[in-house]
Structures are given as structure tokens and as C-alpha cells.
Amino acid sequence: MTRTGRTTLLAAAAVMTAAIVTEIGAEPKAAPTGARSVERGAYLVRIMGCNHCHTPYKMGPNGPEPDMSRQLSGHPAELAMPKAPALGDSPWAWIAAGTNTAFAGPWGVSFTANLTPDPETGLGKWTPETFIATMKTGRHEGKGRPVLPPMPVENLAHLSDSDIRDLFAYLQSLTPIRNRVPAPVDPPEAQ
């Protein structure tokens, strides 16, 4: 190897070493971890279909569509649901509101939760750990009443903690919407 070639190699090695040291020692130049987590959480919300139930549907020019002005704010508080029609011995086992935010079935009546970070009516006071515990146990805040159908808790229990943290980061980045979702209604035999 010539002197010039050796010098070029050494210079390249120095640049590479400096780059590595810079990469390890400095703050990331790209999006910070928090932003990446929010971005990945948004992706997970899209592919997991969270909006299908937690964002109320409205009738648009092309049929039912999510009302994104109420994104992920759950069953609208002002929409008081009448008693669900009895399904009797019909093979129909459960029914849903047109908003796709209220469901009646053998479990009683469930209303989808407000997932926005409103401190009084949403997840504003929750922590990532509370959210993880809820997903993993299928119980409200990981300790309370059962999370009711049609929330697919059996599937969500298999999410990794990292995925759940990303979901939570995205939900916490949303605009808070004050919307107090009604409490679930127990099935008649439990009342």
C-alpha cells in the first residue's frame, strides 16, 4: 500500500470512528425517541382498528365514516341509548349502535372508552404502566372491572410492553376531548 493509500485509509477510519463516537455520545439527530414512539403508536392504532369502535361513526356522503372531530373520544355522552331490543332466541347474539360505540350482548351494554388525554373523562391521569396492566389483564386499570366485549382483550394481552407504550404515547399526544362515557350496564341476571 502506498503512503497516499495508507493516509486515505487512516483518514477514513478516523472519520468512521468519529461518526461512531458522535452517534453514541450525542442526542439522536433524527426524531427523538418520544416522537418515534408516537409515530409508531399512530401506526399501530391505524392497523389495529382502534378507530372503528373508539371514534364515533357518522353518516357521510359515502356511508358511515368515523367522525374524526371526535377522534378516539369514545361513546358520545349526549347520545343516551334506549334499552336494547330483545333478541330472544334469534341467532343474533349482539347488536351495535350506529355510532359503533355502544354494544349490547350477553355481557350487558358496553360503551367504548374515551382514549384521549382528557384528565377527567379520558386517559389524562393514566400512566404507561396503568395502560400496560389494562391490556395485559383485561381489567380496567389492571385491577378493576373486566374490560367488556367487543374489546379484543385476548389478542391485546399478547402485545409487547413496547408496543403498548407506543400506543399510549400516541394516545397521550391527541387533543384532549372532554366526553364522559356512561358506565357499562350489567346483564339482567346480574342486576
Partner: protein
């Protein structure tokens, strides 16, 4: 350069092989996550003498917390195993740190028959395994219940059946990585509350703070642990007993850990011991989002001395509807003895605060 790259590739290949080898050759007795396999039968957990089912090993010590948890009226027996030569770090009175290898068992019987025995097993510095064993018809042994638990194993009242909890429900109360709940300074205090709701007699062989200290099984304990034993100091015996019950049955969740968002003061052992009357007062007139049946919307409070039966505290203890019962899991029956005792406590000890708390705090 080419040689160097070949060297890196070779190293990566070796690492890859090593990883594949490690996953394919799981250590016998360990699960894929590294935790020990749970024994298939209760008789294999170390509770009983070998070949003598039902005879508890001498090193497994019985104990009885002074404020027991309500479990649908089950008759419960409890044991702890501490590995020989180990000690419990008792520097935090209500959050003892147990040595690795500690095991707890709790046996539940209904109608004179053993139904399940639950086990907590500390397998690492910050990791407990929880499991339950379902007793066979012959009452000779119990088998490991499935991870999802077993629904409705025994009828405990007409139309009401006790279930063996899922492991997720074990974690809901004991947490992750987990912790025992009824074995700490207040629960084992020699200054036992004679009015404790469902208080059990203490037999001579049972572990207490005294025996643990005498046998050198505690370290870091306050030097006054026996001269000034743990006690809920309250202005009345009813308040002492009521807060003991609430600490044991509610304090596992309603504490300062921040794990839940409910607007209820901390009922943890340490907090009720530090100021029982203040905790009791803070319950009076405290607004709650829970809607008590028969109370105008938005006017429900945790404790209402003017109408004790309409206190959310009692309404939720009484309810066994899935959406409103408290505690939210583990029981299918309300606790009639506790409901009566707490109603009397609210009526006789907290009534004087009704006027002072006329204006409720902001809702949660």
C-alpha cells in the same frame, strides 16, 4: 479489509449459532421465559412431607393475619416457607422484602372441603410466580389449575359459585413482579385487634412478629417493633376495626402507588396507621363518579353519615354486579358481617362530620 469483514461475519454467525443453540436447548425445569416450571401437583410444591400428603412440613410455618381478606366466607389456612438461613428485610414495615425461594400457600375450604390452594413463589430478586391448585374429589392432592383459572368450581350460595382465579387475576391483586399481601408488620402484630372483622384465633404454633424476631428471621426491623408494636391508633375501637378491614380488603389497590386513578385516599397499612382518624374523615362527603342507586345524579359520595346505606363505599361492597362490585374480583358474595359493622361505624362514629362535609370536593 476483506479479512476483517470475514472475521465480523464469522463472529455474527457464531453468535447466531450460539443463540439458536440456547433457545433449542432449554434448561430442564425452566420455562422458555427462564422461570421455573410450576409443579404439576400441590404435593410436589414442598408444602407437605414426602409421601405423606396432607402432613405439612415442619419448616412451613402457619400464620394468621389479624385483618383477613374476605373470600366468600372460605375457611383459610396459610403457610410460609423461608429458605434455611435467610432473613426477611423488614426495614419497610408494610412492604417486606422476602428472600428468593420464599413460598406462601393459602388453602381455601368451603363446606368442610378443600377447594383450592394458592401458591406464591419468589423465584428471583423481583419476581414472584403465582399459581393455584384445584383439589381432587378424594381430597388427597390438588392439580395445577390452568392459566385461565377454573370457573364455578363450587357453589357458595344459591346460584353463586366460587372460581379459581386466572393467573392474570392473581397479578391484578399481587401485581407484577408480585408481592404477598397479608404478611407484614401490622398483620402479624402481637397487639391484635379484638374487634377485627373475621378475626381468627391465633394458635400457639403460628408465626408472629415475636417468633420471627426471636428466631432471627427479620433484619432491618425498627428496634421498637415489639415494645411499641404496630397498631391502628384510632379514636374508637370501631374506627380501628373498620380501617383494618379497609386496609386489608381495599388498600392493595387504593394506595399511593398511582396504579389506579380513583379518587379515594390511601388505605395502605402505613397510611391508616399514621393517621386513622384523618383517613376516616377524608372519606366523609368525598365525591365519587360512581352513581349510587337512589341518589340524585352527581351527588354520590364515598361515605354519607346522614344516610349510611347510600354511601358509595357500602353500595359497592354490597354489589356483586361485575361493573360495580368492590373489590372488583375474587368474590361472588358481599360480606354481610363487614357491611353491618361498617354501617354501624359510619352511623355512630362519623355522623358528627356530616355537617362539616356538606360541600363535596370536586368529582374525580
Amino acid at each position: 479489509m476483506r479479512l476483517a469483514l470475514r472475521g465480523i461475519a464469522g463472529t455474527l454467525a457464531l453468535l447466531s449459532l450460539a443463540t439458536a443453540d440456547a433457545t433449542s436447548r432449554r434448561t430442564p425445569g425452566l420455562r422458555a421465559d427462564g422461570d421455573p416450571e410450576l409443579p404439576a401437583r400441590l404435593s410436589e410444591t414442598g408444602l407437605y412431607e414426602p409421601e405423606r400428603p396432607g402432613v405439612v412440613r415442619a419448616e412451613n410455618r402457619a400464620f394468621s393475619p389479624q385483618y383477613p381478606l374476605w373470600s366468600d366466607g372460605a375457611l383459610k389456612r396459610r403457610w410460609i416457607h423461608l429458605p434455611p438461613g435467610t432473613r426477611i428485610d423488614a426495614s419497610r414495615p408494610d412492604d417486606w422484602d422476602f428472600p428468593v425461594g420464599t413460598r406462601f400457600w393459602k388453602q381455601f375450604s368451603f363446606g368442610g372441603r378443600k377447594v383450592e390452594t394458592r401458591m406464591l413463589w419468589k423465584v428471583a430478586k423481583a419476581r414472584w410466580l403465582a399459581a393455584s391448585y384445584a383439589w381432587n374429589d378424594d381430597q388427597t392432592d390438588a392439580v395445577l389449575a390452568p392459566e385461565a383459572g377454573v370457573r364455578g368450581v363450587v357453589e357458595v350460595a344459591p346460584g353463586r359459585r366460587h372460581s379459581i382465579p386466572s393467573r392474570a387475576d392473581c397479578a391484578a391483586c399481587h401485581g407484577t413482579p408480585g408481592r404477598p399481601l397479608g404478611f407484614a408488620a401490622l398483620q402479624l402484630s402481637p397487639d391484635r385487634d379484638p374487634n377485627a372483622i373475621h378475626g381468627e384465633p391465633l394458635s400457639s404454633e403460628m408465626l408472629t412478629l415475636e417468633t420471627l424476631l426471636r428466631e432471627g428471621r427479620l433484619e432491618g426491623a425498627p428496634p421498637t417493633l415489639l415494645s411499641d408494636p404496630p397498631r391502628i391508633r384510632a379514636s374508637s375501637p370501631r374506627t380501628r376495626a373498620a380501617l383494618g378491614y379497609l386496609a386489608a380488603n381495599c388498600g392493595g389497590c387504593h394506595n399511593k402507588s398511582g396504579e389506579i386513578s380513583a379518587n379515594v385516599p390511601s388505605l395502605a397499612y402505613a397510611d391508616v396507621m399514621a393517621g386513622a382518624d384523618a383517613v376516616a374523615e377524608s372519606l366523609v362527603g368525598r365525591a365519587t363518579r360512581f352513581q349510587v342507586p337512589g341518589v340524585p345524579e352527581g351527588a354520590s359520595v364515598v361515605v354519607d353519615p346522614r344516610a349510611p346505606a347510600q354511601s358509595a363505599l357500602l353500595a359497592r361492597m354490597r354489589s356483586r354486579r361485575p361493573s360495580s362490585q368492590m373489590p372488583p374480583l375474587g368474590t361472588v358474595l358481599g360480606d354481610p358481617q363487614a357491611l353491618e359493622a361498617l354501617a354501624e361505624w359510619i352511623d355512630k362514629d362519623l355522623a358528627h362530620q356530616a355537617t362539616a362535609s356538606a360541600a363535596p370536593p370536586p368529582p374525580n
